[in-house]
C-alpha cells in the first residue's frame, strides 16, 4: 500500500518547545520506516517571535515544505499562532490547539487587543478543530514546560500516527533521563485528553 505524503505544521512562540515536539514525531516516523523531511524557520525565535516547523512524511518525500492551503495537520502551541497560520490548512484538515494565550507586544502596551473569539472563528472554518487544555494539564503535572509533550501525545492519538509503534520508548529516548517519568506522564495525559474524540482519518492527498 502506498503511504501518501502528509504534512504536519507545528507553530507557536519561541520557547514553547516546538523543536522538541517535532523531534519526538520525527524519531517515531523514522522508526515506522517513513521517509521524512522537515523544515524549520527559527530566525528570531529567541526574541519571542513566532516559530514554524513543517514535517512531511510518506513513502517518498521530495519537498520539505508546502505552502498555504496544503497542510494536513496544524499543531498550534498558542491560540493567536493557531489563527495566524490556520489558512495553511487544507479544507477538512485537522487543527489541534493548545488553549494558551501569550499576548504579543502590541497587546501588552494596549495598542491592540488579544482577540476574544479565536475558538469561535477557528471552529467556523471547514476543519476538524480540537482545542485542548495542554497548558493547564502541564501545570497540573507540576511543570508547564511539558505542554509540548502533552500536545504530541494528543496528536499521535488523534490521528493514529504509526499506531503500532512504541511511542513511550520514543519519548523516553528523546528526553533527559531525569525527566523521563514526567514526560511519559505528560505524553499519556495528552492521549487521555483526546480519548473521547473519534480517531481522525486524515484527508487524502488526492
Amino acid at each position: 500500500m502506498i503511504r501518501e505524503t502528509r504534512t504536519i505544521m507545528l507553530d507557536g512562540v519561541g520557547g514553547q518547545g516546538i523543536i522538541m515536539a517535532s523531534k519526538i514525531l520525527i524519531d517515531g516516523l523514522i522508526q515506522a520506516d517513513y521517509d521524512v523531511k522537515s523544515s524549520e524557520v527559527h530566525g528570531m525565535a529567541q526574541r519571542g517571535g513566532s516559530v514554524i516547523t513543517q514535517l512531511r512524511y510518506g513513502d517518498r518525500v521530495y519537498s520539505s515544505l508546502v505552502g498555504e492551503g496544503a497542510v494536513d495537520v496544524l499543531f498550534a502551541m498558542e491560540k493567536l499562532e493557531a489563527m495566524r497560520y490556520a489558512h495553511f490548512l487544507k479544507k477538512d484538515g485537522l487543527l489541534l490547539m493548545n488553549e494558551m494565550e501569550i499576548p504579543p507586544a502590541s497587546v501588552l502596551t494596549g495598542e491592540s487587543s488579544y482577540p476574544g473569539d479565536i475558538n469561535e472563528r477557528l471552529g467556523a472554518l471547514p476543519v476538524k478543530f480540537f482545542p485542548i487544555a495542554a497548558e493547564a494539564k502541564a501545570r497540573e503535572l507540576g511543570n508547564v514546560r511539558v505542554m509540548n509533550v502533552i500536545m504530541a501525545g494528543a496528536l499521535i492519538k488523534l490521528i493514529g500516527l504509526a499506531d503500532d509503534l512504541d511511542w513511550s520508548a520514543v519519548v523516553t529516548a528523546a528526553v533527559k533521563p531525569q525527566y523521563k517519568e514526567l514526560n511519559l506522564e505528560a505524553f499519556r495525559s495528552g492521549m487521555e485528553l483526546v480519548r473521547h474524540s473519534r480517531p481522525q482519518v486524515l484527508v487524502c492527498n488526492r
Binding site: 523544515s39 528570531m44 505552502g67 479544507k91 484538515g93 504579543p104 501588552l108
Partner: protein
Amino acid sequence: MLTTKVMLTGNEAVARGAWEAGVGLGIGYPGTPSTEILEALSLKDGPEVCWAVNEKVALEEAYGAAVGGLRAIVTMKHVGLNVAADPLFITAYLGVNGGLVIAAADDPGMHSSQNEQDNRWYALHAKVPMLEPADSEECLRFTKLAFELSERYDVPILLRLVTRTSHAGGLVLLNEEMKYSRIKRDYVPSPRYVTLPGNSRARKKVLERNLAAIVEDESVQTLDLMEITSPEVGIITSGASYNYVKEVFGDSCSVLKLGLVYPLNVNRIREFAGMVRELVVVEELDPYLENNIKAMGIRCEGKKYITSFYELNPQIVAASLANTTLNIPFPSAGSRAEPAAPGPLPGVPARPALLCAGCPHRGFFYMAKKAKLMMTGDIGCYSLGAMPPLEAFEASICMGGGYTMAQGLSLTVPEGQKVFGVMGDSTFFHSGITGALEGIYNGRAFVPVVLDNRITAMTGHQQNPGTGRMMNGAPTLMQEPAVLFKAMGYDPVMQVGAYDLDAIRSAIQTAKMASGKAAIVVKAPCRLIRGVEGGSRRAVHQNQCQDCRLCLRLGCPAISLGEDGKPVIDALSCFGCGICQQVCRHESIYEVAEVRS
C-alpha cells in the same frame, strides 16, 4: 558496513561531508542560515574549527591552509560572500592545492536577512564552479565530492545552499565505521601563488581550461539527474526547486536537475531540450539558468511563469504553471488541494521579535532617543532598537556600516552637531574597527558606540574576540573595544554599565560636547548567556503609579498594561535589570526583596 539512518539538516550533512572528506580546517563567520555547519563540524574530532572575525578573513585563512595542502571549508551566509568577494575572485585565478570549498547559504524570502541576493551569479562572475544540492543526502555527497573536484581542477568550489536546504531535515545513511583521516597534500612553493599581472594572465588561461574540463568530469555527471518521462514538457531546475517540481508533477513531465550550476553543461542541456517539445525553467529568485540557457540559443520560458520574488514552494509552482498553455497534467492534486480559508484570517495582531526582558541594549536606546541623537545603526539583536517604541536610530545598511554611514551623514548636518553610530561587539570586530579608524583619520563629527554584550547574540551566541574564548572554548586574549578606541586616538573613551541610565546619559552628553573624539562602550553580558544572573525583580506600586506609562516606552516584554489600565510587571519574565525603576518619575516601581530560585 554498519550503517544507520538518521535525520540530518542540510547544514549537519555538509559538516559530515567535509569531515568524511578529511577536512583540516573549518572556518567562517556566523550568519543565518549557515551558522550550524561549523557548529556541527566543531562537535567532531579531527579538524580545526573556528570562527573568524569576518568572512573575508575566513576565506583568506582557508585559502592559506589550502595552498599549504590541507582541505578547508569556509562557511557564511549569502551577504558574507559580498564581504569575501575580493579573495573569492582571486583564488579562482591562483588555484588551490588542497581542496577549498566555500559553503554560502542564500535566504530566499528573507526569513532572517537584509536582502535575498541570488549568489549563483557570484559563481559566473568569479569563475568559481558551483554545486547546488537539493536535500541533506545531496549536501553530504556533494560536499565530499567538492573537495575532490577542487583538487582535480585546481579551483575553489562554491556550494550553494538556501534556507530550505540548510534548515531542512532529511534522512541520510551514515557509515558508522567511518574514521576521520586528515588529507594533506605536499606544498610546493611556486610563483603562481603571487598575484601579479604576469602570473594572472597565465593563470586565467589555466582557469578557463579547468572550467571547460570540470563539466566533462565523470563524477560531475553523477550530480545531474535527467528524468525523461514525457516528450511534452521538460523542466530544467536545480536545488530546492527540484523538490517542489517533483512534488507537484511527479513523473508526468521530464526533468533535468542540474547539480553543477556553474559552469553549465551546454551539451546536456541541449540534449534534454531536444527530447521535449517545450522547455520550462523552474528556479527560485533570479532567471540565472533561464538567461544562460537562452544565451545558448535554446528556447525556454521561466520567469514568464515563476515569480522571482521570495521563496518558492510546491503550491506556488503548481499555481504558476496551472493556467498556462503548457501541456502538463497535474497528477498530484494534493499540491492544489482546496484551502481551509481563502487567505490569512484578519485581525491577528503581529508578533514581532523583541529585545528580551533585561536585554542590555535597551537602556542605551532609550536614552539615545531621549537625547534626540542622530544615529545610524547596524545588524544584530540591537537592530530591534530601530523598532517602536525605542526607535533610536534611523538607518542601517550592512555589517560595519553603522559607523561609516554616520560619518557621511555628519557632512550633512549643521556645524557643531555630531552623528552617532552604534553596533554590537561582534559587528565591531567584524568590520567596525576600520570605520572607527576612518572617523579619526578624516576627523569626522562622529561618535562610535559599541553595545558590548560580550557575545554574538543574534545568530545564537557564538564566541568572538571580545569573549576571550575561541570556538572550542579555549581561552584567548579578551579584546576590549575601549582599548582599541584609545589606541586609535579616541578621547574621551567612556565605558558605562548597560543598566546605569545616569551614566549613559552623562556619557552621551559628554560625547556631544567633547572637543576631542569621544567613543562610548556600553557594557553588560547578554542575559541569555548561561550563568548571567539578574537582579531582584521589580514591581509597580499600583496605588502610587500615576499612569504616565513611561515604563511602557522601554518596550520591555515583562511590562504590560494591567486590567485596571496601569502597568504591571510580570514576575516570571522580569530579569531585574532595574531600568524601569530608573525611568519611573513617581518612584512607583520598587525592588521586590526575595530570593530568586
